[in-house]
Symmetry: C2
Subunit: 305 residues, 2 copies
Amino acid sequence: MSLKLTILGCHSATPRVNAHPTAQFLEIKNHNFLIDCGEGTQVQLRKYGVKFSKIKHIFISHLHGDHFYGLVGLISTFRLLNRETELHIYGPKGLKEIITLQLKLSNSWTQYPLLFHELNSDESELIFEDANVEVYTVPLNHRVYTNGYLFKEKLGERKLNTNAIAAYKEIEICDFQNLKNGRDYTLKNGTVLKNETLTFDPALPLSYAFCSDTVFFPEIVPLIKNATCLYHEATFLKDKEALAITTKHTTAAQAAQIAQLAQVNQLIIGHYSGRYKNIEDFKTEAREFFENTHLALEGKVFEIN
Amino acid sequence: MSLKLTILGCHSATPRVNAHPTAQFLEIKNHNFLIDCGEGTQVQLRKYGVKFSKIKHIFISHLHGDHFYGLVGLISTFRLLNRETELHIYGPKGLKEIITLQLKLSNSWTQYPLLFHELNSDESELIFEDANVEVYTVPLNHRVYTNGYLFKEKLGERKLNTNAIAAYKEIEICDFQNLKNGRDYTLKNGTVLKNETLTFDPALPLSYAFCSDTVFFPEIVPLIKNATCLYHEATFLKDKEALAITTKHTTAAQAAQIAQLAQVNQLIIGHYSGRYKNIEDFKTEAREFFENTHLALEGKVFEIN
């Protein structure tokens, strides 16, 4: 089992020739989620070979342009491609008005169902759930209403211990699902076999927490505790810690401290300010606090195990 | 005297890795005009070295995404760059609402004056004028309200014929401006010297007509008559003439017929449908009707004399 995260854009503020704004593509248990959608994201999706038809859910963190100005273009392109399947958009209240106004004035409503799930709570909410995956909001602290998102696999079925089962001829294939579901087994002679003697624990569920944009905000730690992988914005280095506070952004060292406090396995940082020429400095500063830190780089794919 | 036109994007519909939607940068008599602004235009401006501060007027033809989805990002970037000078936006009614809604919801109004000039007339209008340049709308016929734009130099001052003037000692430097303005000169002995004996005609004013998107629409011919250069959309080849009619677009041959009817000097075509692999075919079909046809290509600069 693994999550696969493709970085489509990882820079802050304005799109430049080689600096695309935030967008990520997450593959988790047969789901394909687009996270944020800065200007030019549809081109980045093409460039990195993501099939447009795979995307059924888009999560927007906040209504600053570098996180959503590419959304209306992507929605329009889906229309031109004759998409028929539902598209779900999760994001701050106001997003529906922005998109529908533009579609209305261009006289081009989508022929596919476009479903908005607008958010305005300051508490973490479960906003998506099916048999395999849950998605929670992670309220952040930025200049406008902003959410991170926590994507969690659900605990899978228990795994059959085929050697142990083989010792009991009377356990048949039709019993296997009950064992996978955790039930004990009662032999014909009345002996109860504990489930854990016949099965193994399922694989530990993986989780990915996406946190951008925010000031250093340890209040999120309980929400993202033990995440397999945390993406946290790191707009500045420590030389601009004061600016990070006034603009409500985070430094690389602060992002690493969040990772440390939340005891995550792995940290990815990004959303670099354009003022820094050497992105490696972000990694160096972060690793002082959290060794397993990696840089988001355009086109980089993280396999998260 | 020349106009300089830089093609920033020349393809129709959706942005792709090597196919940017419509945007052009026109330099005309010390003015710098941006014409249309598809998604990614700010990156294209950077790529082709256009200084953002030069742009004071932006002309949007219509509210289909491939012609204006890059506008809000550019406006936001101007804000981040601490622009102070006025920005004038010309485009269909509704554009102001779209832009202001997005700026309001992102809590980031511009600190520079942002002035909208919304259009809704079906008649050609003079929408900009100063001592050097005039800009007129060219109402087109598309699926939504659409204008082309005609950019015209004004006739300049007459040029002094210094040899002819030298024959008359009593004509002094302080008289030159009157001569440039076309006045006759009366000698002390009462003889009237006709202005055209002392001056040459000014350079012929140049003009650039931008026409995208539209069905084949000869009604525009009187408005763009004798333009130095015409850009006309050519979305399809003649194999898709029926589709051109239903989608209200033009074929290459039809664009060339408009150029022929309007007796322009030069035709540039663009807005190619993504279905065609060989753009050269557009030129071939157009040249059957109008020899001096050129292809819009990303990054190409046309010096129009």
